[in-house]
């Protein structure tokens, strides 16, 4: 009889010992923060200004795209963070002066970890920010500022420090030239991501 009692105690103890680390592992695997650096291909959003530029002969919509963002997760799956983007495009022909567009954006974001797994994470970020940018034909364009709103979707593989992303932001701006039309410094983009988290 004493043997039975001993066996019962041992079984209960193992259950306690096993469950505590599992909870700890789950808790530690939950996303607490992340940082990303993105590089990829962007393209401009259509606008009256863009249409006029295309009529002039500047018909390439593609831009470079570099992004940095990060966030802290005070709540499970829901975070707060910051984001920034630098994007640039050049377009020229033999007969036209070179067109240059430079766009800088910075702001805050609210990321949601749709899938929060240590091996793969899917993040959806709602973004607000401020854009400053300029378009120029002779190297003397004027910067103009405007609010920006966007959405970013990313799939990241934390163990590989790698991911993919896509998204867009919109930033309607007023023209700087008197004959210009309403423009948009927003971008759509596909990016490759270098990723770390904790």
């Amino acid at each position: 009889m004493p043997g039975f009692a001993t066996l019962t105690v041992v079984a209960d103890s193992s259950a306690v010992v096993d469950s505590a680390p599992r909870r700890n592992v789950e808790k530690s695997a939950r996303l607490k923060w992340f940082g990303r650096a993105s590089i990829g291909q962007g393209w401009v959003l259509r606008s009256d200004q863009e249409n006029a530029l295309r009529l002039q002969g500047y018909d390439s919509p593609f831009t470079s795209y570099f992004g940095l963002d990060g966030a802290y997760f005070p709540w499970p799956r829901l975070g707060l963070g910051v984001w920034g983007v630098f994007s640039e495009r050049d377009d020229s022909t033999d007969l036209l002066p070179e067109f240059e567009e430079t766009v800088l954006v910075g702001g805050v974001q609210v990321p949601v970890a749709i899938i929060d797994d240590p091996h793969v994470r899917i993040l959806l970020d709602a973004r607000l920010g401020v854009v400053t940018g300029r378009q120029q034909l002779h190297g003397a364009g004027e910067f103009v500022e405007a609010p920006a709103v966007g959405l970013d979707f990313g799939v990241v593989f934390p163990k590989a420090y790698f991911g993919l992303g896509a998204g867009m932001f919109s930033a309607p701006v007023s023209p700087t030239g008197e004959l210009g039309a309403d423009g948009n410094f927003g971008r759509g983009y596909f990016v490759l991501v270098a990723y770390i988290d904790g």
């Binding site: 006029a52 295309r54 002969g57 036209l96 034909l137 364009g141 030239g177």
Partner: protein, 203 residues
């Protein structure tokens, strides 16, 4: 005479659709020639940007020089009220026949005159077909709210220098001139694949 902004211009899509099964041997050359003549990036002269940055453009009346699409580019406004913009001795490097267009928006009508050496009709040579007559007459053009390339002269022959004059025809018309350009004249519809659905040198 009032002309519409709709004009017979080349469309590479049409030319490709017209010739899907004959791309062999000389057919390739025909398609390439059609693409060159009707390409998506036709030769255009940034005449306002190049001519007017050197003060070769004169304004009178309500016409005035201003900034274009960007703060560092050139554009012109004419009206409300009578006014004239003149681009003088503009060099067209295009070899062969070319058409002249103006990239404008606004309201009302403008009168556009193009003066070029090739406006004089060519002599008809014995045994040769009569060459198409160039269109150098002054035209009144309806202006739309959005920018459009509007044809103002056709079948001139370059290279040469031309004068282009744009003026409002009444007190209420108002026009913004973003550019004046040119491109090769479309090849005859005998197989070059030109269509009538384009609205300018390039959309």
């Amino acid at each position: 005479m009032v002309i519409s902004a709709e004009v017979t211009l080349c469309s590479w899509r049409t030319s490709m659709a017209d010739r899907p099964r004959r791309v062999h041997g000389s057919g390739v050359l025909v398609v390439l020639a059609a693409l060159l003549a009707c390409g998506t990036s036709p030769e255009r002269g940034p005449l306002v940007e190049t001519s007017c940055s050197n003060d070769n453009c004169q304004t009178t009346g309500s016409a005035r020089r201003t900034t274009g699409l960007t703060a560092d580019s050139v554009g012109f406004t004419i009206g409300p009220g009578l006014g004239t913009l003149t681009l003088s001795n503009v060099e067209v490097r295009e070899r062969g026949e070319y058409d002249v267009f103006a990239l404008i928006r606004g309201s009302g009508f403008v009168r556009v005159s193009v003066d070029a050496q090739s406006c004089a009709p060519l002599p008809v040579l014995p045994g040769w077909p009569e060459p198409p007559a160039p269109s150098c007459s002054t035209v009144d053009v309806g202006v739309s709210e959005k920018y459009r390339w509007v044809p103002v002269a056709a079948r001139l022959r370059g290279p040469e220098s031309i004068d282009v004059s744009i003026q409002t025809v009444d007190e209420t018309s108002e026009v913004q001139v973003l550019n004046v350009g040119f491109q090769p004249s479309p090849v005859d519809d005998s197989g070059a694949g030109c269509s009538s659905d384009s609205s300018g040198p390039s959309d």
